[in-house]
């Protein structure tokens, strides 16, 4: 097991290197630091000195890949590539454009992000799986038919509509919860209730339909017929046999996103003013703070790779046929 995990982590390295090279190309080769400086300082009326100063403050004044001026190993380390990209591997993110330490920001913002993403994940999974089981139980009836129709309609509605509509109705008209904001401790529940419910509602349509298809595929299999032939009730068949076997395809889609929960949700967080990583990313995008975007890209891919690893490990838990080698 440990050997397997270790080997998988080694496999992950080239992928991370690839991600890093890609972001490096995007951020430093497609557009030179000069372009970015001009962009930040305003396209017109910008002096070369101002550009130099901007670059020096952020450490972008070094050569990209190879530093002629430095000595020894410095030829490779005193470069933008080493300082900005390679250091990401030890989770040294450097500073944002406003001078704050990105690593510290990420640590403090992870909490609020998780406080909203985790309930959404758990509640959403519970609601959609039970809803899908219900549709599967009542399959080929009008309940199932209209359930699917409702799902298709719900997944055709823009997620922005759920947010804007929910905020307007619940907060502005009914005054049940604050429109936006965040507080620490137990007080947070007041602020988190609406965003969590809205995110769950927005995801019901597509997930329910997807789980229903999985359940129906399982229900058509031979072992289900055998279970029915034994005289088991339909409910017992559904919960004890179908649900268990359907866990494998469900896990594929679900486990991989667990680590990404740390990243939070971009839109929900920015609409509800929750100081998590999602709104941090949006702010960075709007302020064109490339250092932050670069760090988030790196963290995102690290978490995704962890998610893939967790998915494989979870298979061994639910499917005894799967052996890790």
């Amino acid at each position: 097991m440990l050997v397997y995990i270790f080997r998988r982590l080694l496999y992950a390295l080239p992928i991370l290197v690839g991600v890093n090279l890609l972001t490096f190309t995007l951020f430093f080769v497609v557009n030179t630091p000069d372009d970015m400086a001009r962009m930040q300082l305003g396209i017109k009326r910008v002096t070369p000195e101002a550009i130099q100063k901007w670059k020096a403050e952020r450490g972008y004044d070094k050569p990209l890949l190879y530093n002629e001026a430095a000595e020894g190993a410095g030829k490779l380390t005193h470069t933008i590539f080493f300082e900005k990209s390679v250091k990401l591997f030890v989770f040294d993110f450097g500073r944002a454009d406003d001078g704050r330490d990105i690593g510290h920001e990420i640590k403090t913002r992870m909490g609020p992000s998780l406080a909203i993403a985790l309930p959404v994940f758990l509640l959403g999974l519970f609601v959609t799986v039970s809803f899908a089981l219900m549709l599967a139980f009542f399959r080929a009836t009008y309940l199932d038919f209209w359930g699917v129709v409702a799902c298709v309609a719900m997944m055709s509605i823009s997620s922005l509509f759920y947010i804007i509509g929910g905020q307007y109705l619940v907060s502005k008209i009914w005054h049940l919860v604050p429109i936006s904001g965040y507080a620490g401790g137990l007080d947070a529940a007041r602020f988190l209730l609406l965003p969590v419910l809205i995110s769950v509602a927005a995801g019901i349509g597509s997930s329910t339909r997807w789980y229903r298809t999985i359940f129906l595929e399982e229900i058509g299999k031979d072992y289900v017929r055998t279970a029915r032939a034994k005289g088991l009730s339909e409910l017992a068949v559904l919960f004890r046999h179908v649900l268990k076997n359907a866990m494998i395809p469900i896990l594929t889609g679900v486990v991989v996103v667990i680590p990404l929960l740390f990243m939070g949700s971009l839109i929900i967080e920015s609409f509800f003013g929750i100081p998590g990583l999602g709104s941090y990313t949006i702010d960075a995008i709007n302020a064109q703070d490339f250092a932050v975007v670069r760090s988030m890209v790196f963290i995102g891919s690290v978490l995704y790779i962890i998610g893939l690893l967790l998915t494989d490990l979870s298979y061994t838990l639910v499917d005894p046929r799967v052996r890790l080698q």
Partner: protein, 478 residues
């Protein structure tokens, strides 16, 4: 002077591809059979009718030109305006030109906000001024408004009924001639749904569209049917213009990613070995970056490129178009991985089949086997992926525009409309019309796309064949 923007060219290319594919399919019975199954689906055909209306508007909006400048006194007219217009703009010119000062509610005759005006006797008063265009033909809005609006709606409905009946009559007559029966028989068959093609669904949907559209057209002549936005633009005009952006994002993106996904997927699956390793590495890497962040990074970079090279674009429309195209390409690059993986897996299966081995034994080259024998047999996966992706992309555009990494702010799209309108709910009284209009048009488009893609998937997915669940098959068996 006609002008072809980059996205226009791609849209026309897409139409040409569609026509070519239609011609190709119409000559091959085994492909036609699947499409006939699509045609049997009521929901699918109703959705297709709605989509056709959207596509018509989108295509009209893709014919761009720069109007000739009016001759200025003393000088002959020889230049062209820097404003790029489309055929749809020309058609909607009355709506486009009818701008008000600021917000006005749907069908309103007065402005949304009070203004200080000078009365004829010299005193000043704070009143709601009359609109410049909405209901301007009314003498006394308080008295005439209801009657005028009702009259226009009735006239619109009458026109719609007339148009609907004409179309239905043509369709029924054509069907009668085709089947060699009397038109009453043809009408009965269509009405009862005894036809292979779901004609009744098409006709009912068309009737619905006409009954909605007729009154809107009749009202649009004298009012702002969906009101006006902050700078006084007609919201109906804005929503109609948004359609093209949505369609372009949904289709051009797929067009941009298809060659990559298909070529790489098949090559990886068929050749295997190091080629497979490289391609797998490529898509795992791309896939491991969360989509939104990769899009954000690319769009930010592209924005810098566009902003630092203003001399590349003659008009602002061309710049906005370049950004739209770039967004499509970026979305395409980030979304090809899923299809690529599917195609690789399918090719791995196909390559072991006898007919491929037979082709190998005949000495056919790898390129030929991939092109002649494998590609046609994975096309159903490609088709399903294309139609399934469409609705997601239309929805994604709105979200991306909200984050600020979507289309150019000057491009009219559902996303930019929602983004500018979302703060208006905080006003008192509430300005709800532009939000509702944008969401409603987007919902109908995405719903139609979803229903149509379901119909296509049901017809083409071999795994679903033979175990379709219908209401008629009641009971516990599936």
């Amino acid at each position: 002077m006609p002008i072809i923007l980059w996205t226009d060219a791609l849209v026309f290319l897409l139409v040409a591809c569609g026509a070519a594919a239609g011609f190709y399919v119409s000559r091959r019975e085994y492909l036609l059979a699947s499409w006939r199954r699509v045609g049997e689906s009521r929901a699918g055909m109703a959705a297709l009718t709605v989509l056709a209306a959207y596509i018509l508007i989108g295509l009209l909006d893709s014919l761009h030109y720069r109007p000739r400048l009016e001759a200025v006194a003393g000088k002959p007219a020889n230049g062209y305006s820097s404003e790029v217009r489309s055929a749809l703009d020309a058609l909607l010119q009355p709506l486009k030109a009818a701008t008000e000062k600021t917000y006005s509610a749907p069908l309103a005759t007065h402005l949304y906000a009070r203004e200080t005006v000078e009365l004829p006797d010299g005193t000043q008063a704070r009143i709601f001024p009359r609109l410049r265009h909405g209901g301007a033909h009314l003498g006394d809005p308080a008295e005439d408004w209801a009657q005028d609006v009702a009259g226009r709606i009735v006239r619109g409905l009458a026109l719609a009924v007339l148009a609907g009946l004409t179309f239905a009559a043509i369709a029924v007559q054509a069907a009668a001639v085709r089947w060699g029966v009397r038109w009453q028989t043809a009408w009965r068959r269509i009405r009862r749904g005894e036809t292979h093609f779901a004609w009744n669904a098409v006709l009912v949907t068309l009737a619905g569209l006409l009954l909605l559209g007729g009154p809107v057209i009749a009202l649009a002549g004298g009012y702002h049917v969906f009101g006006t936005d902050k700078v006084g633009q007609d919201v109906l005009y804005l929503t109609l213009k948004s359609i093209r952006t949505g369609l372009v994002i949904g289709t051009v993106t797929t067009l941009a990613m298809l060659p990559f996904a298909v070529a790489l997927g098949i090559v990886a699956g068929y050749l295997g070995g190091w080629v497979d390793d490289v391609i797998q590495y490529l898509y795992t890497t791309l896939n491991s970056i969360p989509g939104v962040l990769l899009i954000a990074a690319s769009v930010l970079m592209m924005q810098v490129v566009i902003d630092t090279h203003p001399d590349w674009f003659a008009t602002s429309a061309q710049r906005a178009d370049a950004r739209l195209l770039a967004l499509c390409l970026i979305l395409g690059v980030t979304s090809w991985t899923g299809l690529c993986r599917l195609l690789r897996a399918e090719t791995l299966k196909l390559r072991e089949l006898e007919y491929v081995q037979a082709a190998q034994a005949f000495g056919a080259s790898s390129v030929r086997i991939m092109g002649r024998h494998i590609l046609p047999n994975v096309m159903h996966i490609v088709l399903i992926a294309v139609v399934m992706d469409f609705s997601g992309l239309v929805l994604a555009e709105a979200v991306l525009s909200y984050i600020g990494i979507g289309v150019d702010p000057s491009t009219i799209s559902f996303g930019t409309m929602i983004n500018t309108a979302r703060l208006e709910l905080a006003r008192e009284p509430v300005v709800w019309w532009s939000l509702v209009a944008a969401f409603a048009f987007m919902f109908v488009l995405v719903l139609a796309a979803n229903l149509f893609s379901d119909a296509v998937r049901d017809a083409f997915d071999p795994r679903l064949a033979g175990r379709r669940i219908t209401l008629s098959a009641q009971g516990q068996t599936t």
